[in-house]
Symmetry: C2
Subunit: 409 residues, 2 copies
Amino acid sequence: MEARLGGQSCLSGVRILDLTQFEAGPSCTEALAWLGAEVVKVENPKSGDPGRSLGGKPGVDDPYFLLFNANKKSVTVNLKDPKGLQLVKDLAKQADVFVENFAPGSIERLGLGPDVVRALNPSIVYCQVKGFGEGSPYENNLAFDMIAQACGGTMSITGERDGRPLKPGPSLGDTGTGMLLAISILGALYRRKETGQGDHLQVAMQDAMLHYIRIAFATQHRTGKASGRAADSSVSGANPPMGTFPCKGGGLNDYVYVFTSRTNPEHWRRLLAVIGREDLIGDARYDSPAARAERADEVNAMIATWTRRHTKHEAMEIIGAAGIPAGAVLDTMELSTDPTFEARGIMPTIEHPVVGRFKMVAWPVRHSGSPPPVAPAPLLGADTDDVLAHWLDLQPDAVGSLRAAGVVG
Amino acid sequence: MEARLGGQSCLSGVRILDLTQFEAGPSCTEALAWLGAEVVKVENPKSGDPGRSLGGKPGVDDPYFLLFNANKKSVTVNLKDPKGLQLVKDLAKQADVFVENFAPGSIERLGLGPDVVRALNPSIVYCQVKGFGEGSPYENNLAFDMIAQACGGTMSITGERDGRPLKPGPSLGDTGTGMLLAISILGALYRRKETGQGDHLQVAMQDAMLHYIRIAFATQHRTGKASGRAADSSVSGANPPMGTFPCKGGGLNDYVYVFTSRTNPEHWRRLLAVIGREDLIGDARYDSPAARAERADEVNAMIATWTRRHTKHEAMEIIGAAGIPAGAVLDTMELSTDPTFEARGIMPTIEHPVVGRFKMVAWPVRHSGSPPPVAPAPLLGADTDDVLAHWLDLQPDAVGSLRAAGVVG
């Protein structure tokens, strides 16, 4: 499990006790696992993280689970049994970090709230993800990704300009929150290495969304009004030509994004050369951003006439090579079958003991040339014996007794 | 500047040499600054980070700049002058981390590429953000947030189901990428503290997008087809009633999100009680997710009839209190004028020396009760003398000579 590319893995020796499920928590602990931390998922022996069962195939972990739990270990413990609870407390004494994302009040009812665990292990970094922050009128409310995105402003800026609010496709409420918590955990671990000081980290999914829509707050600062929706442009405003232009094929994703910057007049001039309208270079009707904004429809139509004659890949290649920012709108199938992602280690194919060959999405930051290595998500309870032996020095017969009594899975 | 809430700030003593601009890089280094690192922005003396000028008001930093550069220091150096370049090399020798997000090839042309800087300081963590990854056919292309979102799949899953692809409002291509790099930097710093080992981190904005759309890859794994668009639902599929429901007022954002989970049948039953249709509790026509999916339009209309009679805030309060995940669609103005965000330290009002009172968006993770303290983004060159004195032991007269020669601002 230790990632050794480019020397010792970053978080070698860091122990994380992971009581999270679904995505906001698991995406956070998975990032730490990729960097080499030993992440031990504590799961109920019956079915484990509900993310395992989303596909509805008994005994087969869903792709959702596989994507958010790579490089982790799984220990199954019955938390309703006092001996199981004690076992988790014993594990918490050995851990550097404790993470949970249960519904509000649940971890306290389980008997593993921050006061309890921090008393057992004062230098632990104790972490909680909730939907709404302590002190919010909604602090006890349930939340899922879409609720966080509704209440966190991301939906209000997504959609056609005059259409209804839409949910951004990315699961920003979950993974977006998980990443911010991972940063704070790593900050707290860095200080702890020197001072031994623990911490109590809390993040609310609603609050985390504000971090990702700061361009919309900037726009509001400028205009004095709530930011509108981005449509195919940006909440910061459009600088025509800019947006998704239709391409040959006419399919749902046969579009190329073309962007001409307000701060670089060459983008527009280069684009005119690409579409064979050199005659308009320097023409005052189009030569400034303000002039083009006045003739936005005409300008965009000019570009669309050209893009319709090309596939999105051709269009991206030709426009990009001319020094103008351009990008084909790619769908998940195009991305996962593009061999350059596999070759670069960004989407490696791994072997899972039950599912078989599985296309993963790896940690995308390369460390000295490569993304950290990927190990498949653990089967339910795969590491119970191993972790109890190494963290708690429990011998096989002791674990056997606990298993016979239904305390561990 | 040192954040002292809850003890010593996390990254106290960490020195970051920051050659980034706009958002992907600055969002990353700002996260580190919030956690207490000393982040020194190196800017050109003339106009600095182009993010400062986005508002077009000379001498007044744009809100965009203020939001992405809090808690940092600014040093102005003319990199085109050999003495200025040498100064930055000297600073790099004193730094723990070096970060840049120039266009492909630019940092090497400046003479500060990874080979140069890592030779000067082998234990430095040298970091680069680009649009496309090394080894991608587009590795030399320009990219901005929207290009990364087009090529990284997020647009293909955002929009109405049969509509054109739209850009998610959040600037995921920029800030989303910045957060992943921050995690890797912190991992590398953690290892470095023990081993002294440096690292070379590289992240491509296109690659980073895959990390945020893993639910779409999970859906594709299940169906064998490219993931569709989320509309107001989720790419993982809908479980009616689910989505944005229209509320009293009829404005662009007068909607409430209601979510009933497939795995918790109580959500539906509680919702029937809320809308006064207890008569339908247990009715086989609606009692299972499959049954409701068959009558999706009817089920959604039933909820909409109720939500139209309530404001989004009432609807959220009533439905949420009944134990059903619900959230009003809030816009940026509603969020920034909600006093609970100010009270909780999530959106504090700070004082900027030129702009005056300014509503910030703080780091949303609370450390032992509070988000880290916020200091305003630095004025251009505000810390040149201070940093040259402390990092390089340059005396005021030496700095004065450099300034007179146009080497520093």
